[in-house]
Symmetry: C2
Subunit: 351 residues, 2 copies
Amino acid sequence: MMIPTPSALAYVPFVSVANMMRLVHSLGPEHFLSELAAYIEEDFRRWPDFDKTPRIASHSRDGVIELMPTADAESYGFKYVNGHPKNTRTGHQTVTAFGVLSSVATGYPLLLSEMTLLTALRTAATSALVGRYLAPEGARVMALIGNGAQCEFQALAFRALCGIGTLRLYDIDPGATAKAARNLRAQGFDVTECRDAIQAVEGAQIITTCTADKQYATILTDNMVGAGVHINAIGGDCPGKTELHRDILLRADIFVEYPEQTRIEGEIQQLDPDHPVTELWQVMRGTVEGRRNARQITLFDSVGFATEDFSALRYVADQVRGTDFHEPLDLMADPDDPRDLFGMLMRARDA
Amino acid sequence: MMIPTPSALAYVPFVSVANMMRLVHSLGPEHFLSELAAYIEEDFRRWPDFDKTPRIASHSRDGVIELMPTADAESYGFKYVNGHPKNTRTGHQTVTAFGVLSSVATGYPLLLSEMTLLTALRTAATSALVGRYLAPEGARVMALIGNGAQCEFQALAFRALCGIGTLRLYDIDPGATAKAARNLRAQGFDVTECRDAIQAVEGAQIITTCTADKQYATILTDNMVGAGVHINAIGGDCPGKTELHRDILLRADIFVEYPEQTRIEGEIQQLDPDHPVTELWQVMRGTVEGRRNARQITLFDSVGFATEDFSALRYVADQVRGTDFHEPLDLMADPDDPRDLFGMLMRARDA
């Protein structure tokens, strides 16, 4: 009688939250962000290689659950991610996520990973990567409006990739600002806690908005945005959720990840469906200009796209290979004869 | 300094392949299939409660990877499933799967489960459930054409739900038939191994086709199907993959899970897009008749729908609660202050 000990094919490497944290610290958070940005950039540059589709969202009264798949010829990746602004009231995260990278050839998962931390890291890495193409030369000061879970990751990525050392923080909740200021001073940033958004944007060459309310909000009004600024708009990322006044959009040159998704979810849901936008992959390939002059207002209308998660999973898979930052998960049935799934089940009873 | 020991919110109950097998045996496979069918039937009867969408498929030369989401007001479920007919050559399964059930209120996963076995079980339970509505009265003999991984599960479910005790097996690979015959005789079935499909359908009141080739195949031709037969067509389940000759479809009354998906993936991809079909949920609700007379040919054009996986996850979640058939997986980041994800990461370094 065959004892059904699972073979190597049964196991999927799993990166838990604890192991993701160990991995980040073993590499150093800013080093991790820089390398991750390089993976994201590499995949943006080969944009036509990917199967792309807007994410599949399931909306409910309190939030949204989304699946974000993409694939190239070799690998398939998807992320599960939720967005529930009221979650913090019950001690839950607003955004949590996990994801899988698979082999296109067999359909078998190659990696299952936590992606709550990884999404925070890849969102920040993408923002800072885009900042490298669009922020005005010599930018050193960034306003951070919205001081929730994403805030500090943005700061760290912009320091690692763009040299930002000075931060101006504002949140409608002073407790959130105090939390972010404490964390960021401990990381060596020069931090100013501001009483409102107007004060926060004073002297900032980059304005990052990352608030979480699911509504049409106006975090920035037109008079707050001067010439030459780069706006990194993170929070407007689902239908009915925006952060910027429409007039800003009309003055800015708008850069997006995947127009088909951004027109539904981004700030530009406020504009006509044919309003001109520039696709970032073309900027990163060098076929379209990014920032053209010092007075231009540039806007990254960030909603987060599946290829960024794909890049992040690919990066983590490369980093954990040969380490103990993953554990084997008995996720795949693996009968001795692949057609004999039933026999495997019956032998398990006898074993 | 806070040591970041994960709290209960960090953990997602995980049902591994080994634990799924333990669960099936603790309940008994046929008992499991009967109860699972009752969950599937319950969810079909409240069909309008569900958010429904055709699955999101990523096709490649060798196969397909699919995400199948659905949700009611309380729970969200999705399955990841692949279909790679050539996988058996390298010792891999043709179809493997896993899935997640989540809370709509928070977006947090409540269960992560293997679904390779569970998909085999839910596919069989659905077939037999439909057989109860459509098979001719007094059916005792079933032809099983295609003797791969799904075959024995079909037999067990049709015995548990429809009283089928006699099986006629055929596969183009005699080794597959020998494997299925051995497994099914051990389960007490009266089994005949047939030399071709024509012999297999002789005297059968139910014909189940579950072959795996990704092509337009003709497993059954028109002259092989007599009056009164119920056809349970499992294998035609993606674009370019069918099992039945078109003429059979024109003679049969066709029953489907979700027309929007079946018209793309099922046998009826061979027919005009407005060819009449009956939705099973209406039969199960009693608003539309199933089998009307003893001479009618009925066809379940099965492709598998997300609600069946939802029902299966719901059933498994109910069964494993309070047992040790699951283990805690550190999948969700859980900072003490949900807005302080970065602080959690930094404290992990210090801990």
